[in-house]
Amino acid sequence: MNRMINIVLVESSSILTEGLIGILNKSELKCQVTICPSFDDLEQILFRKKYDFLIVNPSFILSNPKYFKTLKSQHNNLKTIGLIYSWYDPKNLYLFDGLITISETPDIIISNIKKLLEDTSENDQNALQEVLSNRETDVLKLLATGLANKEIADKLNISTHTVISHRKNISQKTGIKSVSGLTIYAVVQKLVSIDSISD
């Protein structure tokens, strides 16, 4: 795991935010933490960037669980963690994907976060490696020569749906989304020659 992990921390107490950030920074996880002192600003923060984790003081959400559920459904790759430092009714805590309790040692906190990271679907795991699979390389080569998804599917004897899923992975691995950008990438990686790309 050497990917940057983006975290939003919704907590108003600086003792807690500073403390948790200290623990994260000392661990081997590479985290970028955005502090959000109130729940009102959260929507705007989530709108700006893609985050992996939302660590939140449960009292913010217990007053409005419906809003929290909507938020989760809008950002389905976002894992939520409750930051627990007083007693909450356990039936309310099922809304979270994981929990951090302040009595836990740093090791346990970090290992719980890592566990949640491993839970990410196989697709995401695959995307964490930067090297393209053989099939993805095939798709990229054809894409760079100017073929459309349907034409690529016919050439490789796979469904258009599969082509699209390969393309998603290619973009995740390279960080490049547009066809013209991927074409330059394919030339750089010597997957296609500069003469073979259509204009």
Partner: protein, 242 residues
């Protein structure tokens, strides 16, 4: 680690102090027609001189600082003219200044770096620039006149002209395209394009792209979080009065 060192801006602060804190506010001031030097005038004073609702300025300025600001009195259709003025000037800044400037840097870099893949980059950017220009043109020619027409009807309801329909959804799709290609170029420059004596130009270029991305991000937040809600409000007000 992300931290915002930028201050929460209020109207009693001096304009010079907030510019020292975040010099990118120069863009904002300029788009609203406030030019440096600003002497020791407060934000409030400068807003008055420029016929600008201070609450509107504070909403924008705090957005530049990454801080959410809730205006004391909600923004209304009376702010529309100044919002459009800002957006128009910002468009002009993109098309006349920043994009051509980046394009020049790319050409200079392609002259020094003669790897053949580098030759594809000016073309990539030019195509992208054209797409952006087309989108901005669409906003200038379709969206802004529509908003101004709504505004005219709102202040003068007797007018019977019917504004044409435009779709806020289409608007947002355009935006994500613009951001994607910019991000692609950053990835190519930082991770992939082979190096050849281009260190200084490449660094300049990357930093310019980050600045542009940040500016575009603020621009679309202003449209999506401030302009579009006001437009919907004017639309529903007008529908009610019919």
């Amino acid at each position: 680690m992300f931290q915002t060192n930028n201050i929460y801006i209020t109207s009693d602060l001096k304009m010079s102090d907030i510019i020292f804190n975040n010099p990118y506010l120069l863009h904002l001031a300029e788009h609203f027609g406030m030019n440096v030097p600003v002497k020791d005038k407060s934000v409030k004073k400068l807003c008055e001189e420029n016929d600008l609702n201070p609450e509107l300025f504070l909403t924008f300025a705090n957005l530049y600082n990454g801080v959410k600001y809730t205006p004391k009195d909600p923004l209304t259709h009376h702010d529309i003219l100044n919002i459009i003025k800002y957006l128009k000037n910002n468009h002009k800044f993109y098309t006349d200044e920043i994009y051509p400037n980046i394009l020049r840097t790319i050409h200079q870099m392609a002259e020094i770096n003669d790897h053949k893949e580098m030759a594809l980059v000016p073309r990539f950017f030019l195509d992208y620039f054209n797409e952006v220009a087309e989108h901005l043109e669409y906003e200038n020619k379709v969206v802004h006149p529509y908003v101004l027409e709504l505004y005219e009807q709102r202040i003068n309801p007797t007018s019977t002209r019917k504004p044409q329909i435009y779709s806020a959804k289409e608007y947002q799709e355009h935006h994500s395209d613009i951001e994607d290609k910019l991000n692609d170029l950053k990835n190519l420059l930082i991770k992939y394009l082979p190096y050849k004596d281009d260190q200084i130009l490449r660094r300049k270029l990357i930093l310019k792209l980050f600045d542009l991305e940040n500016d575009l991000n603020i621009h679309s937040q202003i449209e999506e979080l401030i302009l579009i809600p006001l437009v919907s409000e004017m639309e529903s007000q007008l529908n009610k009065s019919k």
